[in-house]
Symmetry: C2
Subunit: 336 residues, 2 copies
Amino acid sequence: MTTLKDIALEAGVSATTVSNVINNKWQRVSPETVEKIKNIISRKNYIPNMTARTLAKNSSPIIGIINHLITRKSGGFMADPFHNTFMGSIEDRIRNKGFFLMVRTVEDSRGLEEVFRNWNLAGMIFTGLFQDAFFDDVRKMQIPYVLIDSYIDSPEVCNVGLEDQKGGYMATRYLLERGHRVIAFTSPYVRRDGVVEKRLLGYMQALSEFGVPFNPELIFEQEISISEGVRLGYRLSENRNITGIFSTADILAAGIMAGLRKKGVRIPEDKSIIGFDDNYLCQITYPRLTTIHQDAEEKGIVAIELMIAQLMNKPIRERKIILPVRLVERESVRSL
Amino acid sequence: MTTLKDIALEAGVSATTVSNVINNKWQRVSPETVEKIKNIISRKNYIPNMTARTLAKNSSPIIGIINHLITRKSGGFMADPFHNTFMGSIEDRIRNKGFFLMVRTVEDSRGLEEVFRNWNLAGMIFTGLFQDAFFDDVRKMQIPYVLIDSYIDSPEVCNVGLEDQKGGYMATRYLLERGHRVIAFTSPYVRRDGVVEKRLLGYMQALSEFGVPFNPELIFEQEISISEGVRLGYRLSENRNITGIFSTADILAAGIMAGLRKKGVRIPEDKSIIGFDDNYLCQITYPRLTTIHQDAEEKGIVAIELMIAQLMNKPIRERKIILPVRLVERESVRSL
């Protein structure tokens, strides 16, 4: 069996150099040498044993996607097409960089510690993280991490986010411009400093610009799932005053549309609706859903870039990346 | 820091017994002792280092979901809601049994070897596996594995499958009974001995029973994605003879419906369609999709049961579990 030393011997370099290449510490080795070593590794079919390396280096080439707070009750973190695209994007990219993907739902700090101490992960990507005790524990672990859609206000934290408030503003303004004045805001439970709160702020900002008083009775929060959406559609069908609906997730909007239709409410004739995400569900709904676009695939790409930069100790120019939103017009909104 | 020996000392048992409990070899320890040891572990906040254990035992408490053949081109293995529910079900269950989930797309035997030799996984769950050279390599690894939806005909192999042929038969017969005679079969590429082939056999069986000759021009194969489905819907809209469509996946059916609608074809007035899976997309489509139901969550549960039984060296009564299908009637099919 080929050993690391065999590779080093043939390449005319030290075992440390080969090890650096295998461990993706490319910056310490010249590009030509990296190329040469990779060719030998490939030709000799050499596969390093990660477990042994992990123990020696105290870090594994595993990147964990840690899902905090997203409960099984709502179908788990994989139920929403956004997460699928995002995770698929990450799995695809880290594979080519020599990393493995571990997926874990974590409910509390102990769950987090269990993952970290067991596997000495190279890095972690967190979805659904807030500024609380759990975050303090993440920091203490002292490994590279990237937050997704977090509003934790700390200069050293890497975060890939979105123009959430702007998205909420654009969606609501789009309805207001078309004459809607009684606009329901539908979302998962609003948490302080989460994306939903920002989208709600955008909703309030647009209302305020148009001189429409904020009415808390138009805020509908619930678990995110198709069946919950359908039920909410039933409820909304009973309120004839509501002409416009903004949903902070397409999957919720799709459920609401199905529920409204079942009660004989026509879209957009009777009620208009606008979503958020622009995933493939927008093509399936009838009529096709007007929505706020975000690029879930790009979120994964940027998250991995920030992760790799940390792993390679490269300088990071911008730790907070905010991806843009835009409105995609389809057929679910009409002018009054 | 608490060590394994501390736990053993306090419980009044040997270190081996504690180790057995941690490694889920419960059958070697009495239930009372397991309970006692787990309580001490919990109270002392003891977390074993899996990496060290892995090296010692030559096996990690990681279960891999290995996706063979499902290419990124079609959106990757996470694009279909079936896979999400299935994976979510597995992640949820192995977590409570002390295992971690690794997710990996593997293109060839080298990719497989890379995962296996690096991590010495406790077990692997394969989706999309056929009887070929790749499968021979899986066998050589000599670790517990469970196949999902495979038609590999080998007595020792654990497989969780579905009544695929019956499902294809039921769907087609449902259309035939309602007067349809020109029925399109739409699916991903048909491979020998895969689920799609079995569903196609069911389609042919039903046609034959009704004395309808098989017409290969009515077979439409392509990548599975919404956009491909929409394009196929355009094509199908041009063929006025086709009154019935059977899609072997709801996600494909949903795309076809969107494509047909865009071309002004009404469902079910102009064309009827029936899907396969019964995932949440059926609630979103307009009209709601009649389909063949399968239980993706149950598939995950049964797969993990078969895996755990192998890991614990328990006798396995039935290695081939075939889950039932049933037809769910909604509004996408009409009688001619």
